[in-house]
């Protein structure tokens, strides 16, 4: 049962990821991205991280990707991109080689560590049952890690303020007095020409 669920969600995740990088249209990419996120959420449920699974869908699919789609449709950059043109020659083969080598490195690490990851069974805060996952996570967040939570709250506030500042349409700068004089002169000249 677990194997079947894992294999299906792995297929969903990987096909979604490939869809993101091969789609011509950004909106299609965003949709494939949602597919991947759902697969990851299912994996979280499988690993008994039920709260994270719900948050994954609410935050990632419900806010982040929606924001992507929103920007894409609002700015009208949803035209399909021509993927045949390769702007920098040799970029794609090189990128694939780099991606494959990163995969190779991780794979090597995995193979060297035969029998899965090793490490001390520290268990600072043991993972409880899936049914009280939310409770345990909340207690850990608001006791041991409360400072980090406050920091991330600050980060989010800064990000929101930054976004507002960045995306506000700049109001026209008040023209300087010098420009104004030049403008007046220009207007006078124009008027004179008109009179002629």
């Amino acid at each position: 049962m677990e194997t079947v669920v894992f294999l299906i969600s792995a297929a969903v995740i990987l096909s979604g990821a490939l869809g993101v990088i091969f789609s011509k249209n950004p909106v299609h990419s965003a949709l494939f991205m949602v597919q991947t996120l759902f697969g990851v959420a299912v994996l979280f449920v499988l690993l008994e991280a039920t709260f994270l699974a719900a948050i994954q869908v609410i935050v990632y699919a419900g806010a982040i990707v929606i924001l992507f789609v929103f920007v894409i449709t609002l700015l009208g950059v949803d035209r399909a991109e021509d993927l045949k043109v390769e702007p920098i020659s040799g970029q794609r083969p090189l990128a694939v080689v780099l991606g494959a080598s990163i995969f190779g490195i991780i794979l090597t690490v995995l193979i060297v560590a035969v029998g899965g990851p090793t490490g001390e069974q520290v268990a600072n805060t043991p993972i409880g049952d899936a049914s009280d996952n939310t409770k345990i996570l909340g207690e850990a967040l608001f006791s041991t890690h409360v400072f980090s939570v406050e920091l991330t709250a600050l980060l989010l506030t800064v990000a929101v303020v930054g976004a507002v500042v960045l995306s506000t349409r700049p109001t026209k700068p008040l023209i300087s007095t010098l420009d104004k004089q030049q403008n007046d002169n220009l207007e006078d000249e124009l008027e004179e020409k008109g009179e002629e």
């Binding site: 039920t50 008040l174 403008n183």
Partner: protein, 407 residues
Amino acid sequence: MMIIASDPLLSSDIGFSVVAIMLLKVVIAFALLMVSVMLVIWFERKIVADMHNRVGPSLAGPWGILQTLADGIKLFFKEDLLPERADRVVFRLAPYLSLVPAFLSFAIVPIGGDFTNGGDGTVSIFGHRTLLQVADPPVGILLFLALSSIAVYGVMLAGWSSGSKYPLLGSVRASAQMISYEAALGLSMATVFLFSGTLSTSGIVSGQATWNWNLVSTGFIPFIIFVIAGTAELNRPPFDLVEAEQELVGGFHTEYSSIRFALFFLAEFMNMITMSAIAVTLFLGGPNGPILIKQIAWVWPILWFFLKVMAFLFTFVWLRATLPRLRYDQLMDLGWKLLIPASLGWFLLIAALNIGEDRGWSTFLIVPIGLIVLSLAALLLNGAIKKAKDSSLHAADLSEISEGVDQ
């Protein structure tokens, strides 16, 4: 393999009868939703007609009760149009993206079961004890929030994929509105979690056994915010800017016809039923109520649940017939500057009261201090908004002057 649901049905060995009961529950929930959507559409048309002093649908069936069925059959046999500039795949996908979450979120609503006198709300079917809800995941209500955020995709993509400007404008409005009001919705729900101590819907309902409703214990404000934000989330009047006919032709589904349009319509009314059911579960005690005749004890919770949901549905219809549509900036102001700060402030006050109870602080001290702090915060917020408005007006004046000089 872990078990996601805490339904007692699944804690025993999973055999044929358990699977059969699960399937039965799914089928019943599906059929119940479909039939009630049909009736709710008729109900809405009839009530609005009464409020307008009209007759309303009256020809198909007794009192026109089969009108929806007739409309559905008509839509089914109409030609299915596909706009030339549409994005074919997404255009076909979008109705399902809004229909499937509407179906799924009803799965977590307990529609019956006796929670009085420490009852766990289970009923006995074929020798198995089970909850009267399709699923009871530990994250419960969060699943509802997750699904309602997925429902935004249906509206958004329907508008975008039509390849036409009015649907696009409608969908951009819709997604902005739904994302904004989801925050207020979630924050007003958070107050309920403080009292229930759990996210699971059956846990929330059993915490409100018989008369201990969250409506009273959370102090009405979260409930009011939930209903307003819920109405906005449903895109119902007075928040139906998404499909404002006078401005946007028909909103995001302008280009849809035939069965695909029917699917959107279905999803909209299904969401209305689900939102009412969730509100009843969270604030009005779900199926809790007095059991009047002991012999048919299982009937009463279902009856109470049904009556409470009906009251909500009537309110939604009533709002539609009564209130004029908001302007877009009023909508955003209401969401961001009133509902979100109010629900957050109330949440903090309730949290302070809860902590105070644990620590043995005096309630008579916490409430005034809390209220003073909150009103100070409200004053600050108001001042900031006013300042921002003034300076933007000032900037607008300046730019007008400079534009005047340019000419």
